[in-house]
């Protein structure tokens, strides 16, 4: 492990911390400048019968009338010492709220990722070995199709067909095995598109390499060629793409949970947004930023270790194949 690598790691880590802090402050400012907060909206419920004076008094008693800068400082100092605060809506500690719903979202997101990877592999394999006249072109169109159908549409169709018509799961029991699987499929399909796109592009490139031609000329089977020769070099950029799709998985799970009626981070966010529950929103956004940054950090740090061609050089001189460059290439591949 060279000094250059450690410097690189430290730099990435520093950037990660800055991103997380910016996400935290940004959420605070955006939610704070919107009118209203959950405490006043509970107090303003006409059934409560509080006068404006009483509302102002209660707000002041909780320190919610202080300037935004002071409130930001208080919440930021809490956040930095690991205290996520208390939900303004429910009055419960934010960490408890998140711990209560996180398992459901993790199950959904990890199943969704597994579905996405399997689907991407299947599509990519097909594009290499299904003959053109049997619909290879169609298969190559799948990623664009998957990406362009929003996952709530997929979710609704799945609920309609498998929940109501076939009756595999009951809509009022969304945590059952089948309901979870179909939610994961709805979530995984759009995510698989990005992975498949990059995988196909790289497989195409690798398939034209001399070593592949040699292997083919020696009579190696298709499946073996795919698994032992093409897949490994082609999947290196995929590591970066998978890391990038974590954001997609988290964002998509918010929608998927709502469609399937699951109680996870998504429904927590939905409730918190509709009542402007600032502490919860900040915690969830920061948590999302932390997960996203860490996963990408791991991908970036792993990259030089996985691929000996990728070298991190300190100082002025940089080779054209650093992790950054590869990330840019793969992003282009996704865009294309």
């Amino acid at each position: 492990m060279s000094n250059a690598y450690l410097t690189y790691a430290a730099k990435r880590l520093g950037q990660a911390v800055v991103v997380i802090l910016l996400a935290y402050v940004f959420t605070f400012v955006v939610v704070s400048i919107l009118p209203g907060d959950p405490i006043t909206s509970v107090l303003r419920n006409p059934q409560n019968g509080f006068s404006e004076e009483e509302i102002a008094e209660i707000i002041a008693a909780q320190g919610l009338d202080k300037p935004i800068a002071v409130q930001l400082w208080n919440s930021l100092s809490g956040f930095l010492t690991g205290d996520l605060g208390v939900s303004m809506r429910s009055g419960r500690p934010v960490s408890t709220l998140i711990a209560e719903v996180l398992p459901s979202t993790l199950i959904l997101a990890s199943t969704g990722l597994a579905v996405a990877i399997i689907l991407a592999m299947a599509v990519a394999y097909g594009t290499q070995f299904v003959p053109k006249r049997y619909g290879q072109g169609l298969l190559r169109g799948f990623p664009s199709l998957f990406l362009s159908v929003p996952n709530f549409v997929i979710g609704l169709v799945l609920i309609h067909v498998f929940g109501f018509q076939i009756g595999l799961f009951r809509v009022i029991n969304p945590d059952s095995f089948w309901a979870t699987l179909f939610a994961a499929i709805a979530l995984g399909i759009p995510v698989s598109a990005q992975i498949a796109e990059v995988l196909i592009a790289n497989l195409d490139r690798e398939a034209e390499q001399e070593y592949a031609a040699v292997a083919r000329s020696r009579g190696i089977g298709r499946a073996r060629l795919f698994a032992t020769h093409l897949l490994k070099p082609a999947s290196l950029p995929v590591v970066t793409v998978v890391a990038l799709t974590i954001g997609e998985l988290l964002g998509g799970s918010l929608i998927t949970e709502t469609v399937f009626g699951r109680t996870g981070i998504g429904s927590l966010v939905q409730r918190s947004v509709s009542t402007q529950d600032l502490p919860v929103l900040q915690a969830v956004v920061s948590l999302g930023a932390v997960v996203f940054v860490i996963v990408n950090l791991i991908a970036d740090l792993l990259y030089p270790l996985l691929d000996p061609r990728v070298k991190i050089l300190g100082g002025k001189k940089r080779t054209p194949t650093t992790a950054d460059e590869v990330s840019i290439n793969t992003t282009k591949a996704v865009a294309s």
């Binding site: 209203g36 006043t40 059934q47 509080f50 939900s87 009055g91 309609h160 109501f164 109680t263 509709s274």
Partner: protein, 550 residues
């Protein structure tokens, strides 16, 4: 509707309706569905599922007891000192009897003995004092609010002995006794009250003395209640005092109204809360139980802002009063389960009087009043005065699902008289910020509010004593002030009732309050086999007395 078109329209609601209605129809066809010929003797055991659109925000008892959602759970987990039935009749519950002094400033409550909270603590005088104190004051710095409608004249309470509580008020407070049966006045174990707010917010850490205890709950998902076998202190008024019949009640959150109803239709759940009024007729024909209990409170209607021209003119307000066809609202938006208003308070409130004559639909009278007030009709059918149009902006109440439909109908009715009507529908948060009683640019504030005692009504209409100044009158209407002070100071119902009658007449005659319909804020659709539930004065269903008939 074909399935193809519903798929193409990409509407989840429609998808669910289509498919679930189809499923329900299939079930009805295959099972030869018949309304149960129930033997109406209660049967032990059974579990029910109650589908609800939300489980509200917080479970801190003081902050949540008045919520339309959490109130269902509190009604089963906790008891009250007094019971108030759907007609506002006050009867003993955990307070077996009570006395007051002549001036209604001191009350003595005698408690039932042997009552315990589910954490084992006795429900004695000390516990009641702890509850009265927190209802009045809350713990504001901690985020525990006072109970908004608890009398602000409260001074202190003392435990005379284990079963006697003496309560003192700074001024006559005839409303104290009925308030003890109000949904905010739930008795919580002193141990739970002593907990910090963040622990009170955890429903499983709060103990009441009710017939059910919380078995499990998950925020935004469900609350499951299980019966308490040693419960033996139900209110005599409901005709049963022992343990409940049903073993468990599960409140499950299903936010889609059509899915709630379809689940009950298909037998997957027992009660669906807040169905849309339009569905009720056909559900009734299918044999499902429909309940539209009215709470004790204000009718649904407008508090008119007299600080905003032209509503400072009594003639314009009276034209508004006469220009609304209330029967058409019931025929169009609602069903015959809804009732015409007879005053600005619901007709089941003790002390409400029949002022229907003031609320008759009379477009000719309305036009005449507007002409007299100087608002002349132009060629386009709109009225103007000094070049300004006769305009009204209605802010639909986000707490009442049908509010906007009623606004749209009224817009047509007033349009015929020459009014230019604008409708704004905000979400709850924005509404709370922008729409206030007598607020700038708010000509009419739509009221949906329950109360237990009509005596509290007068005091919130003006701005004296922390009142809410509903009509923007401040202290300017001497007659209203006079009635308010006399009602607040009345020491007996005989003295108070004629004053309440005068108040109702005056408010409506002046056009300060424009009623729309009597309000039904809670709609229940239930399986035909579930019987025996009771609705209280705030229209909550209690399944304490309910059972599943064979």
């Amino acid at each position: 509707m074909t399935e193809r078109s519903s798929l193409l329209s990409l509407s989840r609601r429609r998808l669910l309706i289509t498919t679930s209605v189809a499923a329900a129809a299939a079930l009805v066809a295959t099972t030869g569905f018949n309304p149960a010929q129930a033997a109406d003797s209660p049967r032990e055991g059974g579990d029910i599922t109650f589908l609800i659109d939300s489980l509200g925000d917080t479970w801190i008892p003081n902050n949540s007891a008045i919520s339309s959602f959490q109130g269902h759970i509190w009604g089963h987990v906790t008891d009250k000192l007094l019971y108030v039935d759907a007609d506002g009749k006050v009867t003993p519950w955990l307070a077996e009897r009570w006395e007051q002094n002549d001036k209604a400033t001191e009350f003595t409550l005698h408690l039932k003995s042997g009552v315990t909270f589910s954490d084992g603590a006795p429900l004695d005088a000390t516990a009641v004092v702890a509850n009265l104190d927190i209802w009045y004051a809350g713990r504001k710095a901690e985020g525990i609010n006072p109970i908004g409608l608890f009398p602000k004249t409260y001074d202190r309470a003392e435990a005379v002995d284990a079963s006697t509580v003496k309560v003192f008020f700074k001024k006559p407070t005839l409303g104290f006794i009925p308030t003890l049966g109000y949904h905010g006045s739930i008795l919580i174990s002193p141990k739970s009250i002593a907990q910090p707010a963040s622990e009170q917010a955890d429903l499983s850490k709060t103990s009441g003395s009710g017939p059910y205890v919380v078995e499990s709950w998950k925020e935004g998902d469900h609350v499951t209640l299980v019966k308490r076998k040693d419960y033996n202190w139900g209110p005599a008024a409901v005709g049963h005092t022992g343990p409940a019949f049903l073993d468990t009640i599960t409140y499950k959150l299903v936010s889609e109204p059509s899915l709630r109803v379809a689940s009950v239709q298909s037998g997957q759940a027992d009660v669906a809360y807040n169905a849309s009024p339009q569905e009720l007729k056909s559900l009734k024909e299918e044999g499902f139980g429909i309940s539209t209990p009215r709470y004790l409170g204000f009718v649904n209607g407008w508090a008119v802002n007299t600080t905003l021209a032209p509503y400072d003119d009594v003639k314009v307000r009276q034209a508004l009063q006469a220009g609304i066809d209330r029967q058409e609202i019931i025929d169009t938006v609602y069903t015959p389960d809804w009732k015409l208003p007879t005053s600005f308070i619901q007709s089941n409130v003790p002390g409400a009087t029949d002022q229907s004559a003031l609320l008759a639909y009379d477009p000719a009278k309305a036009e005449k009043l507007l002409d007299e007030a100087g608002w002349s009709k132009g060629a386009n059918g709109l009225r103007t005065k000094d070049g300004k149009p006769l305009e009204i902006t209605l802010h639909s109440n986000p707490y009442l699902a049908t509010s906007k439909s009623v606004d749209e109908l009224i817009a047509q009715q007033l349009g015929k008289l020459g009014w230019k009507v604008n409708i704004r529908a905000y979400d709850v948060v924005t509404y709370g910020e922008k729409v206030k009683y007598a607020g700038p640019a708010v000509p009419t504030y739509e009221v949906t509010r329950s109360f237990i005692d009509a005596g509290t009504v007068a005091s919130i209409l003006t701005n004296a004593n922390n009142g809410e100044n509903w009509f923007g009158l401040g202290e300017s209407d001497a007659k209203l002030n006079d009635l308010r002070d006399k009602i607040a100071g009345a020491a007996s119902l005989d003295e108070r009732n004629p004053l309440l009658d005068e108040l109702q007449h005056y408010i409506l005659e002046q056009g300060y309050f424009v009623p729309r319909t009597q309000i039904v804020q809670r709609i229940y659709v239930q399986s035909p086999t579930l019987k025996g539930e009771v609705y209280n004065g705030v229209a909550y269903a209690s399944y304490y007395t309910a059972f599943i008939a064979d």
